[in-house]
Amino acid sequence: MSHQTPDPNDEHGSVYDGLLGTDTSQWAFGTDFEDPLAGVDTTVPSELDAAELAAYCLALGDDALVLSHRLSEWCSNAPDLEDDIALANIALDLLGQARLLLARAAAADPSVVPTLPDGSPVPVEDALAFFREAVDFRNVRMVEVANGDFAHTVARLLLFATVRLAAFERLATHADPVLAAIAAKGVKELTYHRDYAGRWFLTLAQGTEESRRRLLAGLTGLWPLQAELARAYDAGPEVDVVLDQVFAVSGVERPDVAPMTGRGHTEALSRMLAEMQVVARAHPRGQW
């Protein structure tokens, strides 16, 4: 059922009716769309394989999308207002990176985009975010496991931002100028994310017995997923240099736990997607 045109004389009119303006449809996906790559030349350079480039951008985009969602789950729940705002800002940066990367993937290889019902107003990056099954997501498991406490989030963000920043510094000279531009922009954002996580890591490690206990528990719990994260980003020795620097000033030993075996996803991703995708899937035409 599509949304009724608001009638100001109707005593049952909703206070939200005004939000729709004159656009009575497509509300689930915003009232208007812009292409995040409008005007950008998305021709794939001839020396690159378009399908491979799309798959790579999807993986980078999915990591950002999934961790962005996990971070946004802290909204109104963080230990204090400043960190609530900080985590929301970091989530927003990652969402922006995800949007650009998913749009780049779709432009490089349109066959990656799920088919939607005729007349659906959903843009390609939203189709990729909301209409793929967990099995089709290409993110690493590090970003999908459920949030623990704040210390767990700090440890995860330190590991992720360190690995991704090192990779984006390299990708800034990638043969695809679109991916290179997205990476160069992301470098500036990830620098802030890594510093934020690094400071909190040190603070919690050198804080109270309780904060240190929680940090070590978070780090040890995540470490089995570090190898997969490092592999996905071709992490070189520069990542270990940074992590060892943080561990040293924090008085923390590198965890000695075996990498998690297997591949694919944990159950946590399908649970997360069920919540993230439910509205879009219930209303694929953006109308009710």
Binding site: G30, D32, E34, D35, P36, L37, A38, G39, V40, E82, D83, I85, A86, N89, I90, L92, D93, L94, L95, G96, Q97, R99, L100, L165, A166, E169, P177, V178, A180, A181, I182, A184, K185, G186, V187, K188, E189, T191, Y192, R194, D195, Y196, G198, R199, L202, E238, V242, Q245, V246, V249
Partner: protein, 161 residues
């Protein structure tokens, strides 16, 4: 300066309306072909939610001025706070915000900073140099939160990127 450029340059940022898009440094190009105008803007941060409003405001104002306008995005080079004009910096200070210092330009690997970011920030209200960082993130991605140790007022600082 073309008339279309003048119109586009006068559109203001939806979140910091004391700044025009030109002063913020996000207006990258205005191409005029008769009545057709193509404006190129660049996002400050990848997730900047103001982009859609900027585009709508540009199209609206240029349409009012008699043009058929379209807005395109440029991702490269990535926006830097160094692109905020001197007039923009003064407008920020006049409205109680602290303007960014020089953006970092690391030559090699980006250094990790575990101490609070060192900035020489003066209070936009009382000009005191005795200020302290309260949070590296503020109400928008581009701002940090500070407090003046003399007049005790909190204020926002536009971050260097």
């Amino acid at each position: 300066m073309s008339r279309a450029y003048a119109v586009a340059a006068s559109v203001t940022d939806p979140e910091m309306p004391m700044l025009t898009l030109e002063d913020l440094g996000v207006l990258r190009d205005v191409r005029e072909d008769g009545r057709r105008v193509t404006v190129t803007i660049t996002p400050t941060y990848s997730g900047c939610p103001a982009m859609a409003t900027m585009r709508d405001d540009l199209v609206h104002r240029l349409t009012e001025a008699g043009y058929a306008a379209q807005v395109e995005i440029a991702l490269s080079p990535a926006w830097s706070s160094d692109w905020i004009t001197e007039r923009g910096r003064q407008a920020l200070r006049d409205h109680g915000l602290s303007a960014p210092g020089a953006a970092p330009r690391p030559g090699g690997p980006i250094p990790l900073t575990l101490m609070p970011t060192a900035r020489a920030v003066t209070c936009p209200r009382c000009d005191s140099a005795r200020t302290e960082l309260t949070s590296e993130y503020g109400a928008t991605a581009c701002k940090a939160l500070y407090r003046c140790a003399d007049c005790l007022e909190p204020f926002e600082h536009v971050k260097e990127i």
